[in-house]
Symmetry: C2
Subunit: 293 residues, 2 copies
DNA sequence: AGCATAGTTCAGTGTTTCTTAACTATCAGT
DNA sequence: ACTGATAGTTAAGAAACACTGAACTATGCT
């Protein structure tokens, strides 16, 4: 066996990690101290001690404020992961102590909740009436953040470009994205496609759409953005612009768009925290959503 | 945003997790105390306090010994993961403080080290002469254990049947496994294949081989087992039995077997701890082994 | 210049974690 | 059955740690 590397662990505590995560998520250290339930001086001293034990500076001054250095992201990611895993363990212990099934908190992007999985969710609820089941519908980036900070147990989101540290991913499904134009417009040559009403800059799907439109030779003149597909559909109906949407979303509902031209596909994935304490109710949900696993 | 679940984190410490991992890995609590550098009574009191804070019993008596309860596996897995991630963070801090590239510890099963990746490993060493590079060759299960306890940074192993908590996996390659028989024997009908000399019961590949032989209709009369392919090859050469081995291994080397009949394929994967503090030298190794990623 | 705000330092208190010594229960050898 | 060795526990005390509230410093706004 390889000799264990002679790195002595600094004596860090979960408490200090909670302080670090709190200051990252709040505008002031006083707010952060309130949230973790200590005085501002306890938090200040605790974070100073964390820096001392790591031997690496984590904060710099911006006027009278202390802010995280860019180089501290590694420590913050670690802190966030350890706090999230500790929360999972505490919830596991609560379930064990109380012979209780606990709560299950699922996050989904809207198309998954409304179009792809409503039957499965209904089935899960029917089979597990005792589970405190909660569904959160939000864009992918928000869901990923809430997963990482142990506010969600499982999420169905658009596959991110890069691996999210501390998570495991399982392919959920592939769906098609198609181009939709106002009724008064003909498809015409690629160069004349648009103007566009699209998902916002920065979203996973927007990046994919932009890439594929450029590849096809279309210009990308964006006149409006929204996270909400219904809003984009409405804009197309009103003749305000062209859009790209999941077929399942665009061609269903109260005011469906006419059949669109397939542009590309995107993957939806199921994502969980890696290594979190097992939760049978979450495992059962996973089996309901993906029977073949 | 969902209201944060009202679970208060017990005030656990990394130290207590180190104690727990140490007692799991040593025959006695005195040995465990020695390894973590405290007295036996400190360890005893520390673990009692851990049980108290978790509110869940972790140990039971076997005579004068205390042993982990089966139900404590969840807490032990959590402890092991948090200690491993903390070790990674400490090594990250050491690299940051000392402007040092540190050590890279790679584990590989033998066929990967000897047949599939020797050129890439040589390339990596040539490009990164300053990296303290160490290669450990061992069976998959040993490699997984060492990865989980932060004794290895990256491993190439046979794809496990089930997800290993706290790890991420990337497909490395697929290789063929073929049947090899002594020269004096003809292939003949399936029912007459064997007797067999195979990898040991319990290994990933053995499970796959057994499954596929049964599917083909062969009996599985195993007369010898070994982890070492060279030993299995030698036994076939000596006429002691038939075997199933990776083609790359069986048909190369000093005394190659004659071309075998393909039975199945197995996947090799690259596995790392999920969410560990980034290490540029390990990232570089990964890029060398898998250029397209 | 004066006041408000963000965070820090100080001194004191209570808690935690370790030590050594003494102890209890179990086991092996005779 | 007895004795000595072994595995782990408990008690008491010391040192270190983590928190509090008060007083402080530096920054920012009016």
């Amino acid at each position: 066996m390889l000799h264990r590397v002679a790195t002595v662990l600094p004596d860090l505590s979960i408490r200090q990690f909670e302080y670090l995560v709190a200051v990252a998520e709040h505008p002031t250290w006083a707010d952060a101290a309130d949230q973790v339930g200590v005085s501002a001086s306890a938090l200040s001293q605790g974070l100073a001690e964390l820096e001392r034990r790591m031997g690496v500076p984590l904060f710099e001054r911006e006027g009278r404020r202390r802010v995280l250095r860019p180089g501290a992201t590694t420590v913050l990611d670690h802190a966030r992961q350890v706090v999230a895993l500790s929360t999972d363990l505490a919830r596991w212990a609560d379930r064990a102590k109380n012979a209780d099934v606990g709560a299950v908190r699922l996050g989904m992007i809207d198309v998954a909740a409304v179009h792809h999985f409503p039957d499965k969710l209904e089935e899960y609820r029917r089979i597990h009436p005792d589970v405190d089941f909660r569904l959160r519908v939000a864009p992918s980036a928000d869901l990923v953040e809430q997963l990482r900070s142990s506010q969600l147990d499982l999420i169905i989101c658009v596959e991110p470009k890069e691996e999210i540290p501390g998570t495991t991913v399982q392919h959920a499904m592939t769906e098609e994205l198609a181009i939709y134009r106002p009724d008064t417009k003909r498809l015409g040559p690629v160069e004349k496609w648009g103007p566009w009403v699209l998902f916002p800059e920065g979203s996973h799907t927007r990046a994919l759409i932009s890439h594929e439109l450029r590849r096809a030779g279309a210009s990308i003149d964006v006149v409006a953005e929204s996270h909400q597909p219904d809003v984009l559909i409405e804009m197309v109906q009103l003749g305000l612009g062209w859009t790209v949407l999941p077929v399942a979303q665009a061609e269903a509902g109260a005011r469906p768009l006419r059949r669109g031209r397939i542009l590309t596909r995107r993957n939806l994935v199921a994502m969980m925290r890696s290594g979190s304490a097992p939760d049978p109710a979450v495992a059962a949900l996973r089996s309901t959503l993906f029977p073949s696993t």
